[in-house]
């Protein structure tokens, strides 16, 4: 089988290339998280007419590093009466769940950490892992606020996963594949070939364009719920539940929750990029395309989605838990279902 992984091609299929394939996303994730934290601080400051951090380094660009150092130094407290095993395990379960998603993300034409032909299915399945961690952490903390946050999270998951899965399913129908690299390649050749605009094909695709645009919006909303961010930060709603499921965590374990949140933000942005925005392909056909341009386009598009998430967080109020259920079941689900049926119809006809 022809491999997309540049390291496997160069070094052969051995432990070294595998190690590089695993470590590279981790290094990327750490750098990305630092940038995203700084971005969050600075974008929120920009939206709110503040300066944001200014003291640590020029324009405060070292602030995320300072925060990490602060968190490492903090005392690691396990509350009395907590279930130690689950309490200690939960942050790592959450982080593992979101980091595992990086395995199938096609960063560029020649690099996917692990090639599996059901990548889209895998990333969605492994993404649901985080909820187990949240419920574990919330229950094991022996705190009522944490427990409430965990319960909300579990109910939230069911509400957003189903419309999200329908969107993924529609994309799979459109692409005839679950392989993320194949889906990306299908959309090569310019932005008019993106699934956002109906995917490649003749002018007859024009009548599914509204549905594909709708699908991408549905996925954006569902992904906000998946990453527990405003307006769907119900499990950790600060004004109600203090900090929700991670109320009792401090130091590095708290940092792991934070890290997982930012990692999750990138994962959902990556899915949206791959499925609707053409992944690493250039929006202008052959212009500005190539190995490094691929990396650039992929990260640029994904970071734009991350920016949208940060933007929404600092603009909107929080919805209530029952309103999220309403949105998930009565609004997103029927719309996603209709879009899915129309796209299936299109595939049958053409």
């Amino acid at each position: 089988m022809e491999t997309f992984n540049v390291f496997e091609r160069l070094l052969g299929e051995n432990i070294l290339s595998a190690a590089i394939s695993v470590l590279l996303p981790l290094v990327f994730l750490i750098i990305y998280a630092l940038i995203a934290i700084l971005g969050e601080l600075k974008i929120s400051a920009w939206i709110q007419e503040r300066l944001g951090p200014m003291r640590t380094g020029p324009y405060g660009i070292l602030q995320p590093l300072a925060e990490v150092i602060k968190l490492i130094q903090k005392e690691d407290i396990v509350p009395a009466g907590a279930n130690k095993l689950l309490f200690n395990l939960a942050p790592y379960v959450i982080f593992a769940g979101s980091f595992a998603g990086f395995a199938v993300i096609p960063f560029t034409a020649a690099f996917v950490p692990a090639e599996i032909n059901i990548g889209l299915f895998y990333i969605f399945a492994i993404g649901a892992f985080a909820v187990i961690g949240i419920v574990m952490g919330g229950w094991a903390s022996n705190n009522k606020y944490s427990l409430l946050g965990a319960m909300r999270s579990a109910s939230q998951m069911i509400s957003y996963e189903i419309p999200g899965a329908l969107v993924i399913l529609s994309a799979a129908v459109l692409a005839n594949s679950l392989d993320m690299q194949k889906i990306t390649l299908l959309q090569a050749g310019g932005f008019w070939n993106w699934f956002l605009f109906g995917g490649p094909g003749s002018w007859s695709k024009i009548w599914i364009v509204p549905f594909t645009i709708l699908l991408s919006i549905i996925y954006l909303i569902a992904s906000l719920a998946e990453t527990n961010r405003t307006p769907f930060d119900i499990p950790e709603g600060e004004s109600e539940l203090v900090a929700g499921y991670h109320t009792e965590y401090s130091g590095m374990k708290f940092a792991m929750f934070f890290f997982a949140e930012y990692s999750n933000m990138f994962i959902v942005a990556a899915i949206l990029t791959v499925v609707f925005l053409g992944g690493w392909t250039s929006p202008f056909g052959d212009f500005m395309s190539g190995f490094w341009w691929g990396v650039f386009w992929f990260i640029f598009k994904a970071m734009f989605i991350v920016f949208v998430q940060i933007w929404l967080r600092w603009t909107l109020p929080r919805v209530r838990v029952d309103q999220l259920m309403y949105l998930g079941w009565k609004v997103l689900l029927p719309f996603a279902l209709v879009c899915f049926m129309m796209i299936s119809l299109y595939r049958i006809i053409y």
Binding site: Q48, E49, S239, R318
Partner: protein
């Protein structure tokens, strides 16, 4: 005792455990050191018991051991975010007891200061209410504007929050020369930001979903509990002491009383209480503009200050429209230079008492929003 082999389970009779949740005194949304004992059935609030007293500072007892003038700084510390409005009823009560008539200019400066402080108070109320609903950005916009108002207070009185500015019979000092322009600029700034807030928060779909039809306080319940201020007006009753029994010079100004009309939900819901505060800011702007226009430029603000504040024997209850409701002081004088008794009727205290009544049956997230819509200050509740 009878033995039963086959048990029919009546599922409607199975009672699940209710959770008792202790909200506060250290909680991000209790607006101070309020402790709520909440009984939850899942996420549904079945009962709320407010526990107060964490900020008790013996105001009323201290007041018995102080001169009449020395009580004013303590009055400041009751509702520490609208101190000007707290000083007003106290000094006016003592003045009425002594039969002092203050100069025109003093009246106008008092009204301008009180209305500016009303705007500042409502800015905090709306900001923290938005924060309770999860909106962070409007909070900072409003706090930025409040800062401009505090600058004026700082320039005029030397204090940002606690002024000791209204004295019995006059003011601590005259206002500074550019006071009028500064105030008119503030009015412009407040109106500009309020337009942003209207789009960003007040008519935001999510915000309406969160606050409309939540914590409905019917008019009769509001009256029975003695609610006042925006709590009462939010329920549709146009009762404002500035209109009902105009004190100071409020009868000279043209302004309206905004009431809750249930525009997006039921009359008396959280959104209505919030919109009353929001619109009152505009009315306060109007009052300030008129007062600035009518205010005499010359005049001694200390001409009526008595050498010795020693009211004759007697008692008085004087009430004013505080941003949070009716703030009244009941003062008994026994003819000495210290009050025999000072009782404060704190609007937050009375308004908070209705919380259990209006929050039963709503979700826990709603309880926080309802508490935010009452706009309490613990300094006033515990005194």
């Amino acid at each position: 005792m009878t033995e039963t082999k086959f048990v029919d389970i009546d599922f409607s009779r199975i009672e699940t455990d209710r959770m008792r949740l202790n909200v506060g005194p250290q909680h991000p949304s209790t607006h101070g050191v309020l402790r709520l004992e909440v009984e939850l059935d899942g996420e549904v609030v079945t009962n709320v018991i407010p526990h107060i007293g964490y900020l008790h500072r013996c105001f009323e007892k201290i007041a018995e051991n102080m001169n009449y003038q020395q009580v004013i700084p303590y009055v400041d510390r009751m509702d520490y975010i609208s101190s000007m409005n707290n000083e007003l009823p106290y000094v006016m009560a003592v003045e009425k007891l002594m039969g002092i008539k203050v100069p025109e200019k003093v009246e106008y400066i008092r009204v301008i200061m009180a209305e500016l402080n009303r705007i500042a108070n409502h800015q905090i109320a709306i900001a923290t209410f938005g924060l309770d609903a999860g909106a962070f950005t409007p909070f900072l916009y409003l706090f930025r504007d409040r800062e401009y108002i505090l600058w004026i207070f700082e320039k005029a009185t030397g204090g940002r929050l606690l002024f000791n500015y209204f004295w019995v019979g006059g003011l601590a000092n005259d206002v500074y020369p550019t006071f009028k322009e500064d105030v008119l600029n503030i009015v412009k700034q407040v109106r500009k930001t309020n337009k942003d807030i209207e789009e960003l928060l007040i008519y935001n779909k999510i915000f309406i979903d969160r606050t409309a039809n939540v914590g409905v306080l019917p008019a009769d319940v509001a009256i029975n509990y003695g609610c006042s201020g925006p709590m009462l007006r939010g329920s549709g009753i146009p009762f404002d002491l500035r209109k009902a029994e105009p004190y100071s010079i409020y009868d000279r100004f043209d302004f309206e009383i905004p009431v809750g009309k249930g525009e997006v939900g039921t009359v008396g819901d959280c959104w209505d209480r919030n919109i009353v505060r929001f619109r009152e800011m505009e009315q306060s702007c109007r009052i300030i503009e008129q007062a600035i226009e009518q205010m005499p430029d010359s005049g001694d603000v200390q001409s009526a200050i008595p050498k010795k504040v020693r009211p004759p024997k007697g008692e008085i209850y004087f009430r004013c429209e505080n941003p949070k409701g009716e703030l009244g002081f009941y003062i008994i004088s026994d003819g000495k230079d210290k009050p025999y008794r000072v009782k404060g009727r704190a609007p937050s205290f009375v308004n908070l008492s209705v919380l259990p009544e209006i929050s039963r049956g709503y979700l826990f997230a709603d309880l926080i929003v309802i508490l935010g819509s009452i706009d309490i200050v613990l300094g006033e509740i515990d005194r």
